[in-house]
Symmetry: C2
Subunit: 233 residues, 2 copies
Amino acid sequence: MKVLIVHAHPEPQSFSSALKTVSLEAFREAGHEVQVSDLYAMGFNPVASAADFGNRANPEYCVYALEQRNGVTNRTISPDIQRELEKLMQCDLLVLNFPLFWFSTPAILKGWLDRVLVSGTVYGGTRFYDRGGLRGKRALVSVTLGGQEHMFRSDGVHGPLESMLKHLLQGTLGYTGLDVLPPFFAWHVPYVTHDDRVAMLDAWRERIALLDEATPLSFPSLNDFDELLYPLY
Amino acid sequence: MKVLIVHAHPEPQSFSSALKTVSLEAFREAGHEVQVSDLYAMGFNPVASAADFGNRANPEYCVYALEQRNGVTNRTISPDIQRELEKLMQCDLLVLNFPLFWFSTPAILKGWLDRVLVSGTVYGGTRFYDRGGLRGKRALVSVTLGGQEHMFRSDGVHGPLESMLKHLLQGTLGYTGLDVLPPFFAWHVPYVTHDDRVAMLDAWRERIALLDEATPLSFPSLNDFDELLYPLY
């Protein structure tokens, strides 16, 4: 299996970075081929803009999704996007590893999603959810946060973290057709003991070892929404 | 009233940019004082990192939130953050105006949230939701998207857009204590007629005129979660 780990934490000594290292080792030990896109280390540019396109389908007015299609077809899309897109299309499992910033990804990772999940290849028209361009691949999200687990119970102050992350789990990863495995959450990280952190790293290693037994999250099937079959785009 | 419009679209001729211009004019005509942070035009840096701090509370290990507190207290936080933070703290109404990218904000706007909503001033410890640092101010989100409204009905393929945006409406804006007004959605923008777009601009103008009659969204109150009163951070 080919694994792409996209990692986004500003502090290389962070617990999030330790999760990245553990997963890299665990996948390699299991015989898988692993690539890591460490976005902070790469100085990845997260800003989607007209500058992403070496030539333009329409130089007068930038429709970003249409320029993505043109740029991929003509291989004039920015080389940093092209490289990440190739890693993505070659992988069987995409791992997003990040600290929770405002109940979502850090901006540098949001920009990776904005720029690399290109229209045409990854999604487009009625090619989304179970007809998305990344069908057959899997995704796994690992998140560190300061909040405590009880805050995210159904009756907790924030409600389930999966609901806060619906835009990512369903609206992004599920939308592209990926089978999204249950996310791994490391709770209350800055406030727990060293032993607690070691236990969380062990739990993460265990999750990786048992990946094939995990049931993906359930998302809409386009078969249930016939009106969407008529091309809208 | 002082209004801060934070705008994030890569194409200055876009419909999203037209919404920004309409709101700027409508607020000014109503006698309000308006500032615009046009993030693309400013070349705003969205990447939260150790480089945001002129000196460091801990030069060996960067805990971003703790460095934010130190940087604000000692006025050594990056000048671009300081400027945006002052605009934010002076405003009575924060307007976020953006195109939907992956059911969320473009990365450049996510980075504005990551970097400008600083710990200590805006939130911290048990100061969130109705005890957040931005209590007494209001927020209004205006979003353009390609999707059609029927896709976002309760029985639509995606479910309500407000649920996709829970991380922003509740987890970010509500979390900081803002009164979050019902969002304005401009549906199916790239595919509708010129007249439809004019009608949407009129509807937006109308929404702004009737702002004081709008009931804010309902979010958790910390009074209902007594266990959170004991300082955790």
